[in-house]
Symmetry: none
Subunit: 223 residues, 2 copies
Amino acid sequence: MGCASSKEEVALTPLSDVNAAKEVADLKAQVDQLKRQLASAGQSAAPAAAGAVKGGVVETLFFPDEKLPCRNNRRPGGCKRQHCEYSHTPTSLSRFLDYLGSATRTLDICVFTITNDDISDVVLELHNKGVRVRIISDNDQAHTQGSDIDKFRQAGIAVRQDKTAAHMHHKFAIIDGRLLLNGSFNWTRQAVTANNENVTVLSDPKLIASFQQQFDKLWDMFK
Amino acid sequence: MGCASSKEEVALTPLSDVNAAKEVADLKAQVDQLKRQLASAGQSAAPAAAGAVKGGVVETLFFPDEKLPCRNNRRPGGCKRQHCEYSHTPTSLSRFLDYLGSATRTLDICVFTITNDDISDVVLELHNKGVRVRIISDNDQAHTQGSDIDKFRQAGIAVRQDKTAAHMHHKFAIIDGRLLLNGSFNWTRQAVTANNENVTVLSDPKLIASFQQQFDKLWDMFK
């Protein structure tokens, strides 16, 4: 077997090429990392990230609550009980109901499962007062025990559901286009009294616009 | 004169070196330009500048994604496939992973169920890089198929769980005390590829403080 006759036949990788190849690889990794940083910093070498907005956080409601709010205490005339086992001071649920009940024009609800009657009663009251209520929920959950979906439909509220085995897993509501309730909190009794849950109350216009866009997209999809 | 006995003795300056040198120069220029971009965005070129934007809301990630991100494309050297079925452009999951991966000091995770290996790999990498990772999850979910809780424990990550039949139902993470990922999104594959889900990326200091307080409270409770 003779020696290689010319450079091209010499399939060698001189040391300088190895270093250069390594330097190129390192620099490429650095470029990728800087691009990811820019992308996640709301700036991006690619088109701007959706929803990179300022300000707009009202509060966060954490659950579970120790007590359910007293329904009578929330109605004109108040609670007449001597020893009421329910709460007469604000709880996360009572504040949630207050936010919900503050709707005067529109209430778009997009929640995986709705079985909590304290919450449903407020939704039905708003509907009866002329607020335009629309509800998106999960098709499988609508048939679970205690679901309020049929109650909403019978009252004339527009309800749509996904049509897949996947989960329509959102838990958000948009109030008058100015307030967003969003978090881990399904509208169930267990979520109020037992689970560890959160609801962020947000008023940032661009954030609300991105959730409204998502609601409208799903509303069309689930016709 | 015998053949070259080893690569080191061959002092060639093959054409490839000229190209490599040019590629190195181009890449260096690109790195400098990205660093200037980051600097003008008020970010330092150091890792984890992500999300340190003024105001409270960075963006919202909606799911499902049409494709999973290409793992090779996210690693130095990139993807060599001719026809890759995975995404090479940003998706909600890839942006989520970028935010998560931007942690440099602490990562507090409070999530109902964690089975998505793309996400768990980033968490394990951060732990191995010395980020202090703490995880709170749901006791029942930890025993479901595909749960990554045991993997985290075996790697030495501190994990605590609730001890009740109720759900530890939160789905949030706090990154370096400066960024909150929160929403309906459990860290599962189905949540990425099939469910309707959201993750809000929030940087409001007061909001983060309230979630940190909740995390610390549950961390103590679940000792």
